[in-house]
Amino acid sequence: MPDSPVMVITGTSKGIVKYLVGYYTDKGYRVAGCSRGETDYKIDNYRHFCLDVSSEDDVKKMFSAIRRDFGRLDALINNAGVASMNHSLLTPMSSVDKIFKTNLYGTFLFCREAARLMQTNKFGRIVNFATVATPLKLEGEALYASSKAAVVSLTEILARELADFGITVNAVGPTPVKTDLIKSVPVEKMDSLINRQAIRRYGEFRDISNAIDFFIQPESDFITGQVIYLGGV
């Protein structure tokens, strides 16, 4: 399908995205994805790149390959992210470094490289990942929430810088979804967090794909710089 749309998704080895890769290839996208590790699945029309999202050289190589082999890019889903639940007094600089490199530097790098490719067609859709931990000001997540606050700021400003290129930039802010990311968080903590949502349940993968679908559909060309927090947060 040489003319079918192309999507890049980051952080594809597990979690939310494993579902997203199947969902968007089923919808007719050719998907290129990445994570540090290999994927434990094989899906037609999915191509995997093993890399760290904060490595500039590797990310540039990935985009050179996409330009060469696919020749276009329609959508970027910046999902790769790491969290760390810890009191700030006990947080080592090594986790600060890891969180910001993955969540902020990685998101920026992919936005930059993707926009360069998208602008040749004057069309592009970028969806970044925020979190409800930011507006809920969750204790124990100071660094994670602030890295995602930075992602929100990045989203809002890139929306303006990239508007003239026909590229929209938005973000989805999921509530807790049962993945490895939150498996170490105590159940009581999760319950009290979910009680602060307007709609009190865990998020499902389909809640996230629904928000992404809205942002990337062609009709959403007047929607940019927005963050949709799920669950009514």
Binding site: K60, S64, R67, R68, R116, Q119, D164
Partner: protein
């Protein structure tokens, strides 16, 4: 072709690409003396961004080297490397050499 010729050719390809979106009276000439930045340039800041992005892509395609032209060094030079196509080609030549010798 020498590296400098390949780079100039890549820059002309980039010029062709940005010219598509420029009105007839603002199209850039494919010549080393064409002014890109500052007085006498027909590019606005977005046009210059487009040209630099296109130039990086063409260099990558034609020479298989990924360079970042607009780094801090480029911004802090006394004589801007973005002044003309020739000054830009000379600056890219340095970047390419550094990358390939690294």
């Amino acid at each position: 072709m020498s590296d400098n010729e390949i780079i100039l050719k890549a820059l002309y390809d980039a010029v062709e690409q940005v010219n598509i979106d420029l009105p007839a009276d603002q199209k850039l000439a494919k010549s080393p003396v064409t002014v890109l930045f500052g007085p006498g340039s027909s590019l606005d800041s977005l046009g210059l961004v487009n040209l630099i992005v296109a130039a990086e892509q063409k260099i990558d395609e034609n020479m298989s080297v990924a360079i970042s032209i607009a780094d801090e060094r480029a911004m802090s030079q006394k004589n801007s490397p973005f002044r003309t196509i020739q000054t830009l080609a000379d600056y890219i030549d340095i970047l390419v050499q550094e990358k390939t010798n690294a």
